[in-house]
């Protein structure tokens, strides 16, 4: 899939490839090729370093973007998957289990939204939108991690909670709330990485911890930009505006002090160079884990309390608007 704003880059790439083919071993077209390569480089830099918030949303949604499976396979020596909520079902939209990180050797409870690898697994995993049994499995895994003193690492990548009949029948609001409560009282480090989409309460159920990192082109939003536009502007076509207005990019959120760190992506986005993006996440994970591993549970929970307790955009009446 080629995104609209990627088109100039892709066209240049195609032309360069054509010329290479035409030129063969001869040096005749080398001048032209060099010229185009320079143009490509500067087009990339121009386009990708000025992505609008909504363009970043599109990058975050790119089907070739490395997803949970890619991170799991690349970052963990071993992933011992656990399943089931012990009450209703097993939800493939979200996966979790014990993982040994190959880089740092840390044992963690690794949990992530699974957007799948192909049409079949995407459908099966409901495109990364969990059902209540998924949230309940996650809570079970949070509690297991706590029981074994093992840090929790979440990889967030979901369009959001699922607007579906069965999800409501089985109480998704209750299930999400239980996840948030479980995270609040977890005695182990909770490390959250937004690797793609961070949509609504569905994302938050896995994105409230002691460290929250976001890849440069990921987003975290209370509602999908399209839905926001259709409610507030009464026009889903104004999604780009809504995305900008809600300040949902990694950099915006770093500025709002809601996330700790923006992890840079390779030029062109993680889908253009998956290994580099995964490597960046893995490296950061190792550093954060090392830092948080020594913190005692009481301090962890107290710090986490204060972290979330302070987030808000409110002020005493008549005073300057400022973070409380």
């Amino acid at each position: 899939m080629i995104l609209e704003f990627e088109r100039p880059v892709k066209e240049l790439e195609a032309r360069i490839a054509d010329l290479h083919r035409l030129a063969g071993p001869s040096a005749e077209l080398q001048g032209e090729i060099s010229r185009l390569e320079d143009a490509l480089e500067s087009a990339k830099r121009r386009i990708y370093s000025n992505l609008s918030p909504y363009q970043r949303v599109q990058v975050a949604r790119h089907p070739d973007r490395p997803n949970f499976r890619a991170y799991r396979d690349a970052l963990a020596d071993d992933f011992y998957e656990l399943s089931g909520d012990r009450a209703h079902g097993e939800d493939p939209a979200v996966r979790g289990g014990f993982a040994r990180l190959s880089r740092s050797g840390h044992n963690v409870m690794l949990i992530g939204h699974d957007k799948g690898a192909d049409v079949k697994s995407r459908v099966k995993g409901n495109f990364g939108m969990a059902h209540p049994e998924g949230y309940r499995k996650v809570r079970r895994l949070y509690e297991l991690a706590g029981r074994f003193g093992m840090p929790i690492v979440t990889l967030v990548d979901t369009p959001g909670a699922f607007a579906g009949r069965q999800a409501e029948e089985r109480g998704q609001a209750w299930a999400i709330s239980e996840d948030l409560m479980a995270l609040a009282r977890s005695p182990v480090p909770v490390i959250c990485m937004v690797i793609g989409e961070g949509g609504s309460g569905g994302a938050l159920a896995m994105c409230a911890g002691d460290y929250v990192g976001m890849l440069e082109n990921s987003y975290l939003s209370v509602i999908a930009p399209e839905a926001c536009a259709s409610i507030i502007f009464r026009d889903p076509g104004r999604a780009a505006e809504a995305a900008a207005a809600m300040k949902i990019t990694a950099r915006d959120l770093k500025e709002q002090k809601i996330v700790d760190e923006v992890l840079p992506e390779p030029l062109g986005g993680a889908h253009n160079e998956p290994d580099a993006a995964i490597e960046a996440v893995g490296e950061t994970l190792g550093l954060v884990l090392s830092e948080l591993s020594d913190v005692d549970p009481q301090t962890l929970m107290k710090t986490r309390y204060e972290r979330y307790r302070r987030i808000g955009a409110h002020a005493a009446a008549g005073q300057d608007p400022a973070l409380s």
Partner: protein
């Protein structure tokens, strides 16, 4: 078939919840019977003919549930800061403040129920659809912290259309904020009672409103995460009669009791008699 009410229609424009302030009587949207405004008001917006529960404002909720004169409002004067500069938000807040006389979509403080002191918060759907922004999150969190510090039972009455999108991710984070506060409170052994009223959706339902020891819902109240119209739009599925009503939620194991509004104070007094 039961006509699905639209949120916009059931937003009470007046204290009584129906009709313009100066009208003497109005027509019940549910049963079509004529209703005197003063009768409706005397019954806290419950139709005297069909017992339909219209939304109730936060100040009326205080009058309904707390012992007369016992309410001490806390954290008055906290207002939305519009840190994102979201187009039209400041005006919206200003208009809602004027209309309701409230700072935001929640009223909170301490009070007594049947002589027992409680920490109390009630949401108000008239204020931008009861949406949860930073002020709602902050006042709810402070009410919880007061309950924790003073060892009080906690009673929260919810009514919310969902998130306050104008506040972006700040709005989302109020779920985490109220959850950390509540999680600490629940380590103690004071009771937390959540009352769900029409409508309660979105981030409120997915955080503090459902994590209670006892969940009470008003009859017919629509409660859920995603609204019915959104679900029908997404899945193209026709939803069954009574979907997401209080009765539906009780049958699905999500609520303890359905309690008529006019019996609610008595019900809370009974409950607090056991656990407070």
């Amino acid at each position: 078939m039961h006509r699905r009410r639209e949120y916009s229609r059931s937003v009470p424009e007046t204290e009584s919840g129906l009709g313009p302030m100066d009208s003497v009587f109005t027509k019940c949207e549910k049963c079509g019977q004529p209703v005197y405004e003063k009768d409706l008001r005397a019954r806290f917006n419950v139709c005297p003919h069909c017992e339909f529960h219209y939304p109730l404002s936060a100040p009326e909720r205080v009058r309904l549930l707390l012992d007369a004169g016992s309410f001490e409002e806390r954290d008055r004067g906290l207002v939305a800061a519009d840190l994102l500069g979201f187009e039209g938000y400041a005006e919206k807040v200003e208009a809602a403040r004027k209309k309701t006389g409230l700072d935001d979509a929640v009223l909170s403080g301490a009070g007594e129920i049947g002589g027992r002191r409680v920490a109390f918060a009630a949401m108000d759907f008239r204020f931008i659809g009861g949406s949860m922004g930073s002020v709602v999150g902050e006042r709810v969190a402070r009410a919880i912290e007061m309950a924790y510090a003073d060892g009080l039972p906690l009673v929260i009455v919810s009514a919310s259309g969902g998130a306050r999108m104008f506040e972006g991710v700040y709005s989302l984070m109020q779920m985490a904020k109220t959850s950390v506060a509540l999680s600490r409170y629940m380590e103690g052994s004071w009771p937390y009672v959540s009352v769900l009223t029409d409508p309660t959706f979105g981030g409120v339902t997915a955080s503090f409103a459902t994590a209670a020891d006892v969940v009470i819902a008003e009859p017919g109240a629509r409660i859920g995460f995603a609204g019915a119209r959104v679900i029908e739009g997404t899945t193209k599925e026709r939803l069954p009669e009574g979907f997401q009503t209080a009765e539906f939620q009780r049958e699905h194991g999500m609520a303890d009791r359905i309690v008529h509004r006019l019996a609610l104070k008595g019900d809370l007094e009974r409950l607090l008699g056991f656990v407070a």
